[in-house]
Chain length 252, copies 2
């Protein structure tokens, strides 16, 4: 028996998220089917991050165990030929038996994409959040500084969570802007790196920073929102299509 | 009777191109249905550019005639509420009766998007052409210079054309590169501006410049390809999803 780790990229548009659902196609279900077909034995993957419906990934991680003798690094090529074009296996490799993608210390990086332009671009509607009002990026950057470090992020967690420990560490929260290549406006990327994220945490942070960018909150208010440890104090949850899980880096 | 001009943006992924087809949904058909429903009179639009299946637009142009008394500039708002989210009316305005979007002198701008990265990004598969081999941008820029100006572009035209006059003027052909925001690699944009384009001309130019970028053609060979006036001399037609009609500027 070998344990294999997959690095998985996907466009989440056509899926009901990562985790298997009774009604609806999920990334996990498609991977299980493709692996079972490829290897000729029943396969069930264990995912690192259960991304929501419509959320994308460049580097989600999953593991599974197999008896098959196919070389681990060849699985990605063979699997990609069986997968739909919106799911791509970036890498496949053997890991020690018992290695678990959620029980190892890791650093996750997420990106939240905003199209800040006078007119929507329909080709970007599934991969960014369109905001027509002019955003104050400097104010957003000031607000972001309050969120860096070890904090209780209860204000930035969906109340439907089962998690009790709300303390997480944000290592880095950068906001970059790039002029659009061919249209008026700019793309704003909120890049956040931390040791773990609560349910909807990145999207609630994005929604809160957008309120700052619009002038509804001062940057300083974000410190009070954080201290309140109350979901109702923060901004709305920004929509899923702007979010991408960029990568997960595991400690040795 | 008023003649109204629409500026239309769309994600072409889910359409069999602009022009009405017997089997398959097209942008033109969706616009006709939405306008007929909105205005309560049978409407048939006349489009400026009949983009192919999978090709996108930020600023295609269409006109139609109406008896309705709705203010011309309000049509965009009312129509957007009836259109699917992958088609957006950017602007609506009255133009003189008889003004025709194909029989007026105009400058068209197209962009061709290439993702030049070691690994495909499934979120960009419908809006760019993925190329994993390293492209020589300087060679592509040198090659592009041969195409600027007034030339017979027969080598860069699909042989299924009905057009006899193959002479067009390319005013500008720029190749820009931008590092990807969140992943390894770069986005390359071929931006081309001209007084008109033959059938598949931009995609054949893109396919030919990609061969130069890969080292299969020298930049100088592009001059010979142009002079040959023979479609077989040029590179393959690059796939449609990389192409966007950026805008059409009409002379007064």
């Amino acid at each position: 028996m070998k344990r294999i780790r997959l690095t998985v990229a996907y466009d989440g548009t056509n899926y009901c998220g990562w985790q298997i659902q009774p009604n609806g196609i999920t990334i996990e279900a498609v991977l299980n089917d493709a692996l079972t077909g490829l290897l000729g034995e029943p396969i069930r993957v264990i995912g690192a991050s259960r991304t929501d419906s419509g959320v994308h990934a460049l580097g989600n991680v999953a593991v599974f165990d197999m008896e098959a003798s196919i070389p681990p690094e060849r699985i990605s090529y063979a699997l990609n030929r069986r997968l739909p074009e919106d799911i791509v296996i970036v890498k496949s490799e053997q890991v020690p038996q018992g290695w678990h993608p959620r029980y190892c210390n890791s650093t996750k990086t997420y990106a939240y994409h905003i199209l800040n332009a006078p007119v929507p671009d329909p080709t970007k509607r599934l991969t960014s959040y369109f905001v027509s009002y002019r955003l104050d990026i400097e104010a957003m950057r000031q607000a972001a500084e309050y969120l860096v470090g070890e904090h209780n992020f209860a204000s930035f967690c969906n109340i439907k969570t089962n998690t009790e420990d709300m303390v997480r560490t944000v290592y880095d929260l950068q906001i970059s802007e790039h002029p659009c290549c061919i249209e008026e406006g700019r793309e704003i990327v909120i890049l956040i790196r931390g040791n773990g994220f609560l349910y909807n945490m990145v999207r609630i942070i994005a929604g809160t920073l957008l309120r700052v960018g619009r002038g509804f909150y001062t940057p300083q208010q974000v410190e009070n929102i954080l201290k309140a440890q109350n979901r109702q104090e923060a901004g709305v949850t920004a929509p899923p299509q702007g979010l991408t899980l960029v990568n997960i880096q595991y400690e040795q």
